[in-house]
Symmetry: C2
Subunit: 269 residues, 2 copies
């Protein structure tokens, strides 16, 4: 998917919502457990209930990998079920030496048809570039993560600026705003102004709104750009809004609330 | 596996060789392609040919993931085939927020029975600690990687020392030398003396000997400790020594050469 197509979808749906599909057999409604593939059945119903409100879906790959080969099958069915005009993110946080990163890229871009993969920056350029060789596919590089441990290394000061700024300044030369995005946790909106000085045009994938305590208005105030430039992810607040038979309906209600807030923000661009 | 068991195996086999199982359908001998599961068949024969010479096997997960659910099945068969007294490494370079890292840990430690997983440090403590909750299982954290891009961030100076030293100094508090190791590329042996000042007792997993140009003697001179403290990985030089029908035999010959060099070094401990 191109950046123009993504922005078009944002304007059409008046939304920049990304729904996380972190589907856990221990958390999904009990009545689904008797179906042939409970994980896919859950995802299917969540997608059906939210696909006019969300511009992106983001399965976290760990949830599928934890189920072995079976989980991989559920993931493949899920990615094939998501309508093609919706942006898809394999939240995999991969990264390895060049020839190996290329294989991860094939896994997510060819074997499956994801639009993007999240990638960890520690191993540098040749761990990231192989993902950028695929046309209309994206790398979403970890910048500032929303978790507590994010502080351990990402804020270390080197030559007067924090590590995450080095990561952004250096990596933006590997690709462009048309094939790279960055993860910036919503729990740290105070860094967004500085981040926008380094990467004004790139999309940011922002987890941490909702369950993790991030604030949508704050994030948009400092992070939004002329083409929106934000994908706000919500997972637990939407997909686990209910664990009864009404789970999809409740998921829709929660997604609708966020989309409603977003509509006003999109109109202000 | 415990550290004592690993050292015992090193002494018994007079070897600290780790064989990488980066099994690629495009590189394995053509005659295997007609078998039911060519990847597993290749691994099985490599394991049979080298299991008295190697103390560890390290499948890089990307090679299996690139084949989808099928690859996952080959990986499961491979890990089940490796004799229990041999140390196994899932070279996956995973890492995510706490509850998600826990799922990756389950994937490799429970769903499969790996002894260890390689983990990327960028997301900090809560991305690493969930792996340490499993008894007699190990985290192998990326320290200094052997690839060209390793220089991009790992050597950034913060408070007078490079990032990788911060990673080691901080992370060694999360576990102990009994459940953590570090990846240190053989292409950078000059850093091993400094690394040993920070983590004298931990095992180091050292890729890059052979095809990538690292030197075994140099690595041992600066990196070996009283319990060996090194696992030297070789992949291409062993498993792709021949792509004819004699591939397993040739792999054994190459493994035997390295083990021979290692025997002298183990005796010097």
């Amino acid at each position: 998917m191109t950046r123009a197509q993504l922005f078009e979808q944002i304007q059409k749906k008046q939304s920049f919502l990304c729904v996380g599909l972190d589907t856990d057999l221990n958390k999904i409604p009990a009545h689904l457990l008797d179906t042939e593939d409970p994980v896919f059945e859950f995802n299917k119903q969540i997608i059906d209930a939210t696909k006019d409100l969300a511009v992106a879906y983001k399965p976290n790959i760990a949830f599928y990998e934890a189920m072995g080969a079976e989980g991989w099958v559920s993931l493949e069915k899920t990615i094939n079920y998501i309508p093609k005009e919706i942006f898809t993110i394999a939240d995999a946080k991969r990264g390895d030496i060049g020839n190996t990163s290329k294989l991860y890229a094939r896994a997510f871009f060819e074997k499956m048809d994801f639009d993007s993969v999240t990638v960890a920056p520690y191993m540098g350029s040749d761990s990231v570039k192989p993902f950028l060789d695929f046309k209309e596919k994206w790398v979403i590089l970890l910048g500032v993560t929303s978790n507590e441990g994010g502080k351990d290394f990402q804020f270390l000061q080197a030559d007067g600026k924090p590590l995450y700024q080095h990561v952004m300044a250096k990596s933006k030369e590997w690709g462009t705003a048309d094939n790279m995005m960055y993860v910036v946790g919503a729990t740290r909106p105070e860094y967004l102004s500085d981040i926008r000085k380094t990467i004004p045009d790139h999309f940011l994938l922002v987890p941490g709104v909702g369950a993790q305590g991030g604030d949508l208005q704050e994030v948009c105030k400092y992070g939004m750009n002329a083409e929106c430039g934000l994908l706000i992810n919500s997972t637990r607040g939407i997909i686990y809004a209910s664990n009864g038979e009404d789970f999809a309906e409740k998921a829709r209600e929660e997604a609708k609330k966020l989309q409603g807030e977003m509509a006003t923000l999109v109109q202000s661009i």
